[in-house]
């Protein structure tokens, strides 16, 4: 997967036509094969842009930044990124007319070790679902919603769910104990766009900023429930976590419950489709309620 040339051409064209003020893409970090997101405002810098299977970070995050606010933005999105963008559009966080979206029919990105990321091996929507231009793929121009792969519950979630309750409790206690409350997970999430997070409110009775296991539990649970039915599994949070916590477990658990019980809902796949908690069906399961 290498769309460097095409993206450079498109970006140069957009700048030449005056369609965008800033282009958000990736560049090489200059010494190894890792990449750094880059916000290009000068058309001369377009040659810096690259796109390979090391283009991991979800760039939709930059739509919440000071640097793109009220500007016309060109943006590269992979399958999962485009789903989060779709949600941001649906939730009125960005205006569609201000964006020029280059969608990628993604073949999966790799981690530091060169292994395909877990979320990519399980991905059911690899193609961008919202775009002005789609690169790669055979069906360019039309949507390939669920691809050919059936939805699978995350392997780690299945493994944990099979564990006895006490072991699972002990495992998660370790997870929350190792959280250092830096909130990087939240800041790196494209869908956590609130100006002030509820977890940061200075209301001592509800939340506090202390770094204890209980406050980490509170913060991460609240966070994951706010993203339930909206998380697109881009794993920005996991990349950002300095303690390498398996944060995807919480999200994938919610995702699987939602997929299985609420009419196969997948966040952000269908345009104008809001999160799973913003709608309901009369057929929703009722058997767990007395």
């Amino acid at each position: 997967m290498n769309y460097t040339k095409q993206i450079q051409d498109i970006a140069a064209k957009l700048f030449a036509e005056g369609k965008i003020d800033v282009f958000v893409g990736y560049r090489m970090n200059g010494f190894d094969d890792n990449q750094v997101p880059v916000l290009i405002t000068d058309p001369q810098d377009v040659s810096k842009l690259v796109f390979t299977d090391k283009s991991v970070f979800n760039l939709v995050n930059y739509l919440k930044s000071d640097h793109t606010r009220r500007k016309r933005v060109g943006l590269v999105v992979k399958g999962c990124d485009s789903r989060s963008l779709n949600l941001m559009l649906t939730e009125s966080q960005v205006k569609r007319q201000n964006l020029y979206i280059i969608g990628i029919a993604c073949e999966g990105v790799v981690d530091d070790a060169g292994q395909k990321m877990q979320n990519c091996t399980e991905c059911v929507v690899p193609d961008a679902v919202v775009f002005d231009e789609l690169l790669g793929g055979t069906l360019s121009g039309s949507l390939t919603l669920t691809g050919s792969k059936p939805y699978q519950v995350n392997a780690d979630v299945t493994a944990l769910a099979a564990m006895p309750l006490t072991e699972r409790a002990a495992y998660f206690e370790e997870v929350f104990e190792n959280c250092i409350r830096c909130n990087a997970c939240r800041h790196s999430c494209p869908l956590c766009y609130c100006a002030k997070c509820c977890i940061d409110q200075e209301t001592a009775t509800l939340y506090n900023g202390a770094n204890t296991t209980s406050s980490a539990f509170h913060a991460l649970m609240t966070w994951s429930l706010h993203l339930a039915g909206r998380c697109v599994d881009c794993r920005n949070c996991e990349k950002a976590c300095p303690s390498h916590l398996p944060l995807h477990l919480l999200h994938k658990q919610n995702e699987s419950v939602i997929y299985e019980n609420f009419q196969e809902h997948l966040a952000g796949v269908i345009p104008e489709d809001r999160g799973a908690f913003y709608k309901y069906s009369l057929k929703d399961p009722d058997d767990f309620i007395m």
Partner: protein, 357 residues
């Protein structure tokens, strides 16, 4: 003052470590989820004193806890009682193993801020009752640039006891401070190990250690002229370059939390009915409401200003105030950064841009 140096080998070193664990409260890097954090250990099998810098969190939390309980209070009908809490790690002698020299160095840097004017007695106590056994790296990692900052390669490792890997499986154990010297002699290691395994350094040792240092200093990818950068940065507060370089920062605060020298904190209360606890926990200047005042005035309302504050505090302000550089060049922020921003690159880019103006 001359401190003693000992020569040993891998087995001798491990015995030395195990002796320490048997007799002291010991902290060492323990792996959890692929990342090492300093935790209490009792045997060598639990930990890895040679953990790579890239995967190890700093030792800062052992001196400046991630969350310290400041006080507790109980409100009763007869009045409010405020009590100090007994903080951990204040009593007893602690030893920290497997500290990288940049981490050890960071404590010397932090000493300055904690000991000016109001003295942080808890920090001081923790410093006093802790012996640091640091390890000299053999080779620089990708993002290291400690040799580029304002100390020479001989004096990078300033604290207590230093373990240096020599050639032919030799390992040198150097005392660097008086505390380290008394610590080693207090361990009585010679009684338990044979002459072959543990002996005093001879004339050649100093030369061998020097060679190791030189090969270490030669392995750096990143090098900068610190004096020049410092001088330039101090003059370019208003450069628009800061806005450019901060563009791809997502203000996630990770850098501050993993940084061994970042020392900003917040004070927060946790209240339940009539009782409550006050915590002092980490905070970051990259946080949008770090300086936001009630009423809405914010001196650093936009990202590039906060970024500038962080870079300038690291490379200019602290030096101006306390005489040392706040950055120790460990590269932890760069490694942890989700978007791979390198502070080294940024600082150089900004100062280079100022040259062109």
């Amino acid at each position: 003052m001359n401190f003693s140096t000992f020569v040993t080998d891998k087995a001798g070193l491990h015995k030395f470590y195990e002796d320490i664990m048997a007799s002291h409260e010991t902290f060492a890097p323990v792996e959890k989820f692929g990342k090492f954090d300093f935790k209490k250990v009792t045997s060598l099998s639990e930990c890895d004193p040679e953990s790579p810098i890239a995967k190890t969190l700093s030792i800062k939390p052992l001196f400046f806890p991630r969350s310290a309980k400041v006080m507790k209070y109980v409100a009763t009908s007869s009045g409010t009682d405020v009590s100090e809490t007994d903080e951990d790690h204040l009593a007893g002698n602690r030893v920290i193993l497997g500290v990288k020299h940049c981490d050890a160095r960071s404590l010397q840097v932090l000493d300055k801020v904690y000991n000016w004017d109001y003295i942080d007695t808890d920090y001081q106590k923790r410093r006093e009752n802790t012996v640091i056994v640091s390890t000299r790296c053999d080779k620089a990692e990708t993002h290291c640039f400690c040799t580029s900052l304002d100390y020479d390669v001989e004096n990078l490792d300033a604290l207590d006891v230093v373990v240096v890997n020599g050639t032919e499986g030799k390992i040198y154990i150097k005392a660097r401070t008086e505390k380290g010297e008394t610590f080693i002699s207090g361990m009585n290691i010679d009684n338990r190990l044979s002459k072959n395994e543990w002996r005093k350094a001879d004339d050649k040792t100093a030369g061998e250690i020097k060679t190791q240092y030189e090969s270490f200093a030669g392995s750096f990818r990143l090098k900068m002229d610190y004096k020049e950068v410092n001088e330039k940065l101090s003059k370019i507060f208003d450069t628009p370059e800061f806005e450019n370089v901060s563009g791809n920062c997502i203000s996630c605060n990770t850098c501050a939390f993993v940084c061994p020298t970042c020392h900003c904190f917040k004070i927060s209360d946790e209240k339940v009915k009539d009782t409550g606890v006050r915590y002092k926990s980490y905070d970051s200047c990259n946080n949008g409401y770090f300086t936001l005042m009630a009423g809405g005035h914010n001196p650093r309302p936009v990202k590039y200003r906060r970024w500038r504050q962080r870079a300038m505090h690291k490379f200019v302000y602290y030096k101006e105030r306390f005489g040392v550089n706040l950055c120790v060049g460990c590269g932890k922020c760069t490694i942890s950064c989700p978007v791979n921003i390198s502070i080294f690159e940024v600082v150089n880019q900004v100062s280079a841009a100022s040259m062109q103006e």
